[in-house]
């Protein structure tokens, strides 16, 4: 719906609060946020409430089906895998691992990317264009390829795949920050601050960063969903986390061996990844819409 600029809302919230109000208008987005919050709570308190160690093998309870199916037992609510490990505990630890690592990676990538992007956005001339070219070429290399190269150099493993993904996430942040900063740098309020004698560091942290906050949050949600998908994909391909670690993608590829006997062991980890990514995407979409609404008002 069109809004007209002079009919302002009665309340005068700060930009952040305003975005938040807009965000809350979408029920789906709020629902997505609750699901995401659930996952985050799960990864924080999960280890304390889970009945089993994710690596604990019980040879007497191999490939139990979920409790609602024929051979399931209530002890293992979601059943067990081919080594008799509790699937529920593994899933919770898996979410913890996948989501936790993704969050970490996104944080690292964000800080790196914003720093680089801000430098690139504020730099002029040859330096900036060289940086831009390098970034463009880096962005063109598919994540998986970067991961393959890094894994080839350092060997298979979760930490190495994390490097790969962090590296692959950075360009997005750099790109967006660069665009944003470059845009802002042409605005008059930056010129005004410059005339106040502001140095670049001050300009960025005091003037540009407050305006960039929401953009960064949106960008983070996008990066987060990419990171989750990439980590689990690498785990699935056997390039990332290695069994027996309860990483969701690695669990999925392990489960392939018993696909017929235990289809739930394929369905559940996939579902967990899907739900996490879905909730993040919904929140991201909601934020983006809220931001757009706020800016067009």
């Amino acid at each position: 719906m069109r809004r007209i600029d002079f009919y302002e809302d009665d309340l005068y919230p700060s930009p952040l609060k305003h975005t938040w109000q807009e965000f809350q208008k979408s029920h789906i987005a709020v629902l997505g946020m609750w699901i995401l919050a659930f996952f985050i709570v799960l990864i924080v308190v999960g280890p304390f409430v889970m009945p089993f160690d994710p690596l604990l093998q019980n040879p007497n309870a191999v490939l139990l089906s979920p409790s609602w199916e024929g051979s399931g037992s209530l002890q293992y609510i979601l059943g067990t895998d081919s080594l008799g490990r509790d699937l529920l505990s593994r899933l919770v630890y898996g979410c913890r691992m996948t989501l936790g690592i993704s969050l970490l990676l996104v944080m690292i990538a964000m800080m790196l990317g914003v720093a680089l992007g801000a430098t690139a956005g504020m730099a002029k001339g040859v330096r900036s264009s060289i940086l831009n070219h390098l970034l463009d070429s880096l962005m063109a290399i598919p994540t998986l390829l970067i991961a393959i190269v890094i894994v080839a150099i350092l060997g298979v493993g979760l930490v190495n795949s994390m490097w790969a993904i962090a590296l692959a996430l950075v360009p997005q942040f750099v790109h967006n920050t660069r665009e944003f900063v470059r845009n802002e740098m042409n605005k008059e309020y930056i010129l005004a601050s410059k005339l106040d004698g502001a140095r670049k560091l001050h300009l960025f942290f005091y003037c540009i960063l407050p305006n960039m906050f929401e953009l960064l949050v949106v960008q983070c949600t996008m990066a987060l969903s990419i990171a989750i998908l990439d980590i689990s994909a690498l785990g699935f391909l056997g390039l990332g986390a290695q069994p027996p670690s309860p990483e969701l993608g690695a669990m999925l590829s392990e489960a392939l061996k018993v696909a017929y006997k235990a289809p739930w062991s394929i369905a559940l980890p996939g579902l967990a990844i899907f739900l996490m990514v879905l909730s993040i995407n919904i929140v991201g979409d909601g934020l983006r819409a809220a931001l757009r609404n706020r800016l067009t008002q």
Binding site: N132, M139, P142, L237, D285
Partner: protein, 344 residues
């Protein structure tokens, strides 16, 4: 102006390719093992042979010379040999890459056919139930982990229903010589008796991998199109067009469609990297003999020359596609051609 765009982008292309080939050259030194072996792919050489290769690759000279020799070899098509198979990498790539390209192109095509019309439709029904449901479907489908999606498709269409085969590009019973790497072309040029059956077999093999890629790519394209269309339709010139007395159809066809598609064309190019990544994963699940599958095999076999060459080939491909799309988008977009104040 056009010339300028072309030259600028050719420069960009060449310098980026140069960076990539430098990167692949450096990789040979970063990978475990002997850089010379990683570059040439020759292993277990006798001392004399090693000496010969050592000189051929200029390893007695400076790194710059080595890189220069390496570049020359790249141009000549001598990309080294694969550790695993001993076959020239260029030859292996020229079969694996088309397989991936084929898969990507088909799914991109189908995605465009689905995503763009639906995007327009949803944009047209902005804030109506049709729009909301399409949007919801798109969020769901681009949140799907592609490997899981591919597995689920296999479970449904292959194992439960038995409709579609789950691996490869064509039934192995057809002995189709791989010449171009594009299956339909190869079938067309082959000498087998039962070509029509082969076409059908190839098609059936194509459906599921394409579908898994399409579900995700189409969702992305749908969202881009929808957003762009909504933005265009709320713009001043569309309102003006209405007050100029143009009919609804005229406004949408003449002004809506073109302006919707022009800005998102370069974004499609950005998607090519994502598409290729997804294609590589899909290849793995469906045992599609493409470059993704090939690279993942190379990892497990420690086939460093293959990883080096695959990295170079795939990223060069993406760069070329990205820049080409970018250039063509610029050339057909008058708003960009006419710009006098292009940045940097």
């Amino acid at each position: 102006m056009i010339l300028r765009t072309l030259i600028r982008n050719t420069n960009l292309l060449i310098s980026t390719l140069l960076i990539l080939s430098l990167f692949s050259f450096v990789l040979a030194f970063l990978f475990p093992g002997d850089p010379l072996e990683n570059l040439s792919g020759l292993t277990n050489l006798s001392e004399q042979e090693y000496e010969r290769v050592f000189l051929a690759y200029g390893f007695d000279q400076s790194y710059v010379t080595q890189f220069w020799i390496y570049l020359n070899k790249l141009f000549e098509g001598d990309w080294g040999l694969s550790f695993a198979s001993g076959i020239p990498l260029w030859q292996e790539l020229s079969l694996a890459l088309p397989a991936s390209i084929e898969l990507s192109i088909y799914s991109l095509f189908v995605s465009l056919m689905i995503g763009i019309p639906l995007g327009f439709w949803a944009g047209f029904k902005y804030h109506k139930p049709a729009d909301y449901s399409l949007l919801a479907i798109s969020v769901v489908s681009y949140s799907l982990p592609i490997f899981w999606l591919a597995l689920i498709l296999i479970l449904i269409f292959s194992l439960s229903l038995g409709w579609l085969p789950l691996s490869g590009r064509v039934s192995l019973l057809f002995d189709i010589p791989e010449v171009s790497g594009f299956m339909f072309v190869d079938i067309f040029n082959s000498e087998i008796d039962n070509k029509n059956a082969a076409y059908i077999s190839a098609l059936k093999h194509l459906i599921m991998p394409t579908l898994s890629l399409t579900i995700i790519t189409a969702a992305i394209i749908f969202r881009l199109t929808r957003r762009s269309f909504i933005d265009v339709m709320s713009s001043q010139y569309i309102k003006t067009a209405y007050t100029r007395g143009l009919s609804h159809t005229q406004v949408i066809l003449r002004h809506g469609v073109r302006n919707t598609l022009l800005p998102i064309l370069p974004l499609f190019a950005m998607q090519s990297a994502v598409l290729l990544t997804n294609a590589m994963i899909v290849e793995f699940v469906y045992s599609w003999p493409g470059v993704g599958n090939w690279l993942i095999q190379a990892i497990s076999q420690r086939d460093y020359p293959a990883i080096r060459a695959g990295m170079l080939a795939v990223s060069s491909l993406v760069i070329v596609v990205t820049i080409m799309t970018d250039v063509s988008a610029k050339l057909i977009n008058p708003a960009l051609v006419g710009e006098n104040h292009a940045e940097n």
